[in-house]
């Protein structure tokens, strides 16, 4: 070091960082305009968004018609206002109840509403562990499926509603939630069975998983809707919706089983050895040591399968159940509203996106919460 120091620590006040390095300007400089390539990409992206967003906004909101009695009505209102016709949301508005409840009797629809609220209430203590009185709330969650079943089907004091009246988003939720709730435990059992030391059990599990995975869901749904009648003794009536529920649940449980098997195999052998060496029994080690870790690893795959299952519920349209897409198709047959399929599909897409996005976010939250390593 020379005697003349150009800078002595502490003798000058600390200057604030230059405006070009921090805040919004700093962020934009670093992320959008840091190099020639980046500048080109940024400009192209802005141009692309300029092409896409204004027409979309016009169609969805600005030029849209929200109340009208027919498609022609929509067009008339739009031209009276001096612009082209955007989305004719009036159509969705008029058919909204059909989309939500299907053909569920109008005077009984409160039962669907109540079921929906109960489902949300039952999910909260299952999904989040920091709710007050969680232990008691979990008992409610356990009872909720049965109460909801009773509410929706009726009987015992309520007017019975046959399942062929179910439809719309309510049907999607019934199939989707039953499939999700049912397939997780079955999938876990299959995954453990596939790793079992008992050859017979292992073979049954492998055969089941490979068969189900090897067959398209549509085929299984057809089997459920038609072929099952040939196998069952004549005269037995076996509710179509119930058959679909069973098939969907079994179908996704095979996928869940494979996802969880991946998680089980990712665990080091030392975990089970440590559990064994301390004298834990098989089921204890599975429940306390192995499954919590294997399931945690498998969360992305499990949620992926659930999202797939949830969207696959739209396939029931081909065996005559009227899910939202089926409802849309049925509504479009109305001559008053012909040609408005875009509105229907955008509306249904928004519903599915919201549900699936919520599942995806929850899985991220769960992964973060269960992260214990460093």
């Amino acid at each position: 070091m020379s005697a003349e120091k150009s800078y002595v620590a502490g003798e000058y006040p600390d200057l604030p960082p230059p405006v070009t390095e921090v805040g919004i300007i700093g962020w934009i400089r670093h992320n959008l305009f840091s190099s020639t390539t980046n500048i080109v990409i940024t400009v192209l992206t802005i141009y692309f968004l300029y092409l896409i967003i204004p027409p979309m906004l016009n169609w969805i909101v600005l030029d849209a018609v929200f109340t009208a009695d027919s498609r022609d009505d929509c067009r008339a209102i739009a031209s009276a206002a001096g612009h082209e016709m955007g989305a004719c949301w009036a159509f969705i508005g008029k058919r909204f109840e059909l989309f939500v409840y299907g053909f569920y009797p109008v005077e009984e629809r409160w039962r669907v509403d109540l079921s929906f609220i109960m489902m949300l209430a039952a999910l909260v203590p299952v999904l989040f562990d920091n709710v007050p009185y969680r232990k008691k709330a979990l008992w409610f969650s356990l009872a909720a499926p049965f109460i909801i079943g009773w509410l929706l089907l009726g009987g015992m004091g309520l007017a019975p509603v046959p399942t062929d009246k179910f439809g719309g988003f309510m049907l999607t939720l019934v199939i989707g939630v039953t499939g999700i709730v049912g397939s997780l435990p079955i999938g876990i059992a299959l995954a453990l069975g596939r790793q079992s030391h008992m050859p017979a059990l292992r073979m049954v599990c492998v055969a089941f998983i490979e068969f189900i995975r090897g067959v398209p869901l549509i085929t299984l749904l057809f089997v459920a809707s038609t072929m099952l009648n040939y196998f069952l003794p004549p005269g037995t009536t076996f509710d179509l919706l119930l058959r679909v529920l069973i098939m969907v649940t079994l179908f996704s449980s095979a996928y869940i089983a494979e996802v969880i098997r991946g998680g089980l195999q990712a665990l080091p052998k030392g975990q089970i050895e440590a559990a064994d060496s301390m004298g834990l029994k098989y089921w204890q080690s599975m429940r306390l040591i192995i499954l919590p870790q294997a399931l945690k690893i498998s969360i992305p795959g499990i949620v992926n399968t659930f999202i797939g299952l949830y969207k696959d519920t739209t396939l029931v349209i081909i065996i005559g159940l009227l899910d939202p897409l089926g409802m849309g198709r049925a509504s479009l047959a109305d001559t008053k509203w012909q040609g408005l399929s875009t509105e229907v599909y955008v509306f249904v897409a928004i519903f599915f996106f919201v549900s699936c996005f919520a599942m995806a976010r929850y899985s991220l939250y769960l992964e973060k919460k269960l992260h214990t390593g460093h």
């Binding site: 080091p268 030392g270 975990q271 050895e273 440590a274 064994d276 060496s277 301390m278 004298g279 834990l280 029994k281 204890q284 306390l288 040591i289 919590p292 870790q293 945690k296 269960l370 214990t372 390593g373 460093h374």
Partner: protein, 258 residues
């Protein structure tokens, strides 16, 4: 380690706690353990060493049935190891084990790791199990880490938790399978110190280790294995100063040379 004060002569009772007779084990067609005979009395501190692949880890893993032997008898605390799950459980309750890679449960806190087995295997009430766990965590000198997860601890701390976890089951015999092999050099001592303390309290210990300083300090017997056989066993002084067998001499010259 040689600066460690030599352990005073510890009591070794006449009671035989582990008896292995004419034991053989195969992995498929590979003969891993050949005619192993070993008797361990209560209070003995035995170090098992030998080149890698000599079957030393397999031998101690047979004692609590992490590995199955195919021939011969293993009797632990007067219970014979057979396919009877009841016997296996009874033995595992008396025998604690520490692994090379600790094998702590990463999804549970240190406290939960320690209290788990007493609660589920011995049906100890949670409060009591946690008090016991705290006692042993204090003994391995990490009570302040009780609420952390294993992933937040250093290797040496993890291995000490693993020892505390085993001790919580109040075992009569402790097996150590290369407890310091996966540790950074500066952490080996903290683990060995805990093990030495344990030995001085009279715990029956079988340690597979290459820590010859530890063997000299606490072991009352050193067993050398090679090729699945017990080649030589002797008290540590004789073993190190005057190895009888050619293979033992070679092994010792290799590990002590570097």
């Amino acid at each position: 380690m040689s600066s460690q004060p030599e352990t005073p002569q510890l009591e070794i009772s006449d009671e035989v706690v582990i008896q292995i007779r004419n034991m053989h084990k195969w992995y498929g067609s590979f003969h891993v353990l050949k005619n192993v005979n070993l008797e361990v009395n209560r209070g003995e501190r035995i170090v098992i060493c030998g080149p890698s692949g000599s079957g030393k880890s397999t031998l101690i893993r047979c004692i609590n049935r992490l590995e199955e032997h195919q021939q011969g008898d293993i009797i632990v605390e007067n219970v014979e190891l057979t396919n009877d799950l009841k016997n296996i459980d009874a033995i595992r309750r008396e025998v604690g084990m520490c692994f090379q890679h600790f094998n702590l449960f990463p999804h549970l806190t240190v406290m939960e790791n320690c209290a788990l087995a007493p609660i589920w295997v011995k049906q100890v009430p949670r409060k009591e199990a946690e008090a016991t766990a705290m006692k042993y965590l204090e003994r391995v000198k990490i009570p302040e880490q009780a609420d952390k997860y294993p992933g937040q601890l250093s290797g040496g701390q993890q291995q000490r938790v693993a020892i505390a976890r085993s001790l919580c089951m109040n075992p009569k015999i402790m097996l150590f399978d290369e407890p310091t092999s996966a540790l950074d050099p500066e952490m080996i001592k903290e683990v060995l110190d805990v093990m030495i303390e344990l030995a001085q309290e009279g715990m029956t210990m079988l340690c597979v280790t290459h820590e010859m300083g530890f063997a000299k300090t606490v072991a009352n017997r050193v067993i050398f294995m090679d090729g699945g056989e017990i080649i030589e066993e002797n008290d540590p002084h004789e073993f190190f100063d005057n190895p009888q067998h050619e293979r033992t001499q070679l092994f010792l010259s290799q590990i002590l040379a570097h």
